[in-house]
Amino acid sequence: MQQKALQDKVAEKFPIVLTSGRLVEYEGGGDETRSNPWLAELQQENFVEINTQDAQKRGIKYWDYVWVKTPTGAEIKVRALVTDRVGPGTSFIPFHFAGWWQGRDLLDRYPEGSAPIVRGEAVNTATTYGYDSVTMMQETKTTLCNIERA
């Protein structure tokens, strides 16, 4: 595996480390808390925290849509939160959002009236391939990624 990764030059194509983690407004997979109107209003869209230098290099401005591409071939479309909260070369996406798939809102797939108020890209679809196939709950929370303007 190591050899293959080096041959494919994975590090060059995906220069940014992607971590995922929590938001204070939502809990766990987020479906329940994203259906709570007061919490949903506070965080309405999934976003990637990207360092100001990385954003400048890629011409990404605050709250632009960006594609986050990972070695597994997944692409997720999220907003760009340009900040210094993450160091250069690192990015962070909360994992409470779900309901989009590769940039498309799957609102119509939800049974009538059961869709949460706020939906977004699920970061777990993009993080590394070690995952439990039933619950999509991945082994690790990080991967390499590249972020481009949408």
Binding site: A40, E45, L107, I117, V118
Partner: protein
């Protein structure tokens, strides 16, 4: 004198036209501050059923008719 009346009527006509146009431009706060895709079910406490801020309009029966746009 006739011209003055015509001009007054014309002014009022243009004014009502403007009122209609400004009405179109109007958006409720729950539309303006909800991002695309957020499925908001507007509640009407504090702002009244027609989201004008005066709740003395009958609250329970009044249906919220969001303005277009």
């Amino acid at each position: 004198m006739r011209v003055m009346l015509i001009s007054a009527v014309a002014a009022i006509l243009v004014a009502t036209g403007a009122a209609f146009f400004l009405g179109q431009e109007q958006r409720f706060a729950y539309q303006a501050f909800a991002t695309t895709g957020a499925r908001v079910t507007p509640s009407s406490n504090l702002v009244g059923p027609r989201w004008t801020g005066d709740p003395d309009v009958p609250s329970k029966s009044g249906q919220i008719t969001p303005p277009p746009g």
